[in-house]
């Protein structure tokens, strides 16, 4: 059963995954190749470090994009066919959902493996200075965990009842609109509610922790 689900999800997500793999190869190449003040055999270390830090942000955007597309593609076909296929399967609903989740996580693992593999190859070919080292495995794990968070959130949201999705979206939009209106009319000193919600998200231990740390292919 898992293989069948994995295969269907692979079929739906294949183009995106190929693009992600190409990006995973291009990001380290670009970061190590176009670092400013690079000579043939040496790097200007601060520039190289800045270039790698910028590549870390590119990895985060890639992770977010792949996770969003994969989570949407996991339910798009079912949603279009009114979930008839899923309901006709001889397994409990919760198991089917978890199989879909597992298949998505595995497909995200392919993108993470590509990130680690291409990063490792690029770093091995680059003349890195002795004070810097390549960490492709660490980066691949960060990438995988990082993709699973937005994937899980959107997957769970799409998997809920449409009514619940509508309520959540309406609540978020209302809170933002009211907060902006209060700030706009000078009642509050800036958007308070949004800050109140967002501030804990930017603290250590929040679900955003993965995206708040640095994703460095090359570090000290």
């Amino acid at each position: 059963m898992f293989r069948a689900i994995l295969y269907t999800q692979w079929k739906w997500a294949r183009p995106v995954l190929f693009l992600a793999i190409i990006a995973a190869g291009w990001i380290p190449l670009e970061a190590l190749r176009s670092s400013p003040y690079k000579e043939l055999g040496t790097y200007h270390v601060p520039s190289l470090y800045a270039s790698i830090a910028a590549a870390g942000s590119a990895y985060q955007y890639l992770a977010l994009a792949v996770a969003v597309v994969l989570s949407i593609s996991a339910w798009q076909a079912d949603s279009a066919r009114q979930h008839v296929y899923a309901l006709s399967l001889p397994i409990p609903r919760w198991r089917f959902v978890l199989l879909r989740f597992g298949a998505g996580a595995l497909l995200l693992g392919i993108a993470a493996t590509a990130v680690g593999l291409f990063g490792g190859i690029a770093a091995a070919l680059a003349p890195l200075p002795p004070s810097l080292h390549a960490y492709p495995v660490g980066l691949a794990i960060r990438f995988w965990l990082g993709t699973l968070i937005p994937f899980g959130l959107i997957f769970a949201l799409l998997c809920s009842s449409p009514r619940r999705v509508k309520i959540v979206v309406a609540a978020v939009v209302t809170v933002i609109a009211v907060d902006m209106a209060l700030a706009g009319f000078g009642v509050t000193d800036g958007p308070q509610l949004i800050n109140w919600v967002l501030r804990p998200l930017y603290e250590s231990g929040s679900p955003l922790t993965a995206f708040l740390s640095r994703w460095m292919l090359v570090d000290v």
């Binding site: 003040y37 200007h44 270390v45 660490g138 965990l145 899980g152 997957f155 679900p207 000290v220």
Partner: protein, 397 residues
């Protein structure tokens, strides 16, 4: 002819005779003007003194901790007392008995200030704003510092005043005051501030990262384990005559040529080299062009490679290892070099002190390239919760 000459002389004499009293009058007027100007100046001083007195009239409370004292307003008494106590305790850890002698010359005052106007945010979206009158409310607080009859720049604090922020402001005042006790060489090396604040938990990791990715090759060699490179990078013996050769290698030149020096140095450099000449270095990485660019910068454009926080950490370590009396030995300043002074304070050789600092920095290297526990736990919990939420979902309903 002679008549005409005589008449001219006569006319000049008449004019001179008339001008003499006028000149006296002018002198009197100038003297009067000077008197009035002096009077205006003195009145301005009086007005300023009265304004200060009016402003200080609400500073009725004086909080004490040992010899340290601070004037505060009623609203800030509690937080002021706590902050002064915390700051003095922190200063005492480094300065020991010298804290009290410094504190007697240190005049601190903290007062709140109110804002009668605020930006009217309703018009922000329309590309402009206006100031709207509001009922007076506290907008912040100002910590004023005066040491040995010299006013230091104050610290502005957000309202409501947090104890930690006020403590940091008072500690900064102690840091600047204590630097006046140091020998000139050491004071300059520390950038006129005796570091008193405790290091943050992540300090040594950040320092390791900063040194390992420094733009100076000597610093990178230092964190690679080379002790002599550390001494050179810290510039504790003397400033090298050729800083470029001593601190940097060829791979640093191009980056340095682009970024070294302050804006004035850079402007002078741009005036002496054409864009084409500069691009020989900045774009084409020609060795000679980079050397020429760097030679046009003044020697002090190349700063001590170990940043100020790294030097402060060495200083802190010297005092820690020296125990009680270390700051006094340091301020005695008997040794000719910074290395000697720090060694004397620590009660050991400079080599041994720098070696301890180097080991501490190297121990700060991030241990594992894998995500830390917080990252792993936060991500896993989020994923499991999302999975469980999804398993309960019924999208067909």
């Amino acid at each position: 002819m002679s008549d005409r000459f005589g008449l001219t002389v006569f006319a000049l004499l008449v004019l001179a005779a008339r001008a003499l009293p006028a000149q006296d009058e002018l002198r009197v007027l100038q003297a009067r003007r000077a008197q009035l100007m002096a009077r205006v100046d003195s009145l301005a001083l009086v007005v300023r003194a009265q304004e200060n007195a009016a402003r200080d009239s609400n500073l009725r409370i004086v909080v004490h901790d040992g010899a340290a004292f601070m004037r505060t307003t009623v609203a800030l008494e509690g937080v002021g007392r706590d902050a002064l106590k915390a700051a003095t305790r922190q200063a005492r850890l480094v300065l020991a008995d010298d804290t009290d002698s410094l504190a007697t010359d240190l005049q601190l005052s903290v007062r709140e200030y109110s804002s009668d106007y605020r930006v009217d945010r309703r018009f922000l979206g329309l590309g402009g704003y206006s100031l709207a009158a509001t009922p007076a409310k506290f907008a912040g607080a100002m910590l004023a510092v005066r040491f040995a009859a010299v006013d230091y720049s104050g610290t502005t604090l957000d309202w409501p005043v947090a104890r930690a922020n006020l403590t940091a402001g008072i500690v900064a005042a102690f840091e600047r005051a204590a630097s006046t006790r140091l020998p000139a060489a050491l004071d300059g090396w520390l950038n006129h501030r005796v570091p008193l604040r405790a290091d943050a938990a992540e300090f040594w990791t950040s320092l390791y990262r900063a040194l390992a990715t420094s733009s100076a090759a000597v610093t990178r060699r230092c964190v690679g384990g080379n002790l002599a490179a550390c001494r050179l990078a810290l510039a504790i013996d003397s400033m090298p005559t050729d800083r470029l050769a001593a601190w940097h290698d060829e791979s640093d030149w191009q980056g340095l040529a682009v970024s070294a020096g302050d804006p004035l140095n850079r402007t002078a450099l741009y005036q002496r080299m054409s864009i084409d000449e500069r691009e020989q270095c900045t774009k084409l990485a020609k060795r000679d062009a980079c050397l020429r660019m760097l030679s046009l910068l003044p020697p002090d454009a190349l700063r001590i490679p170990v940043p100020e926080v790294g030097r402060a950490a060495l200083f802190h370590m010297a005092l820690e290892r020296g125990g009680p009396g270390a700051f006094r030995r340091l301020s005695a300043g008997a040794a000719p070099s910074v290395a000697g002074m720090l060694g004397a304070a620590a009660g050991e050789s400079a080599d041994s002190l720098v070696s301890a600092w180097q080991r501490r920095v190297m121990a700060g290297r991030p241990q594992s390239p894998l995500p830390d526990t917080t990252f792993f736990l936060a991500s896993t919990v989020c994923i499991v919760v999302c999975g469980a939420w999804a398993a309960r979902g019924k999208p067909w309903t």
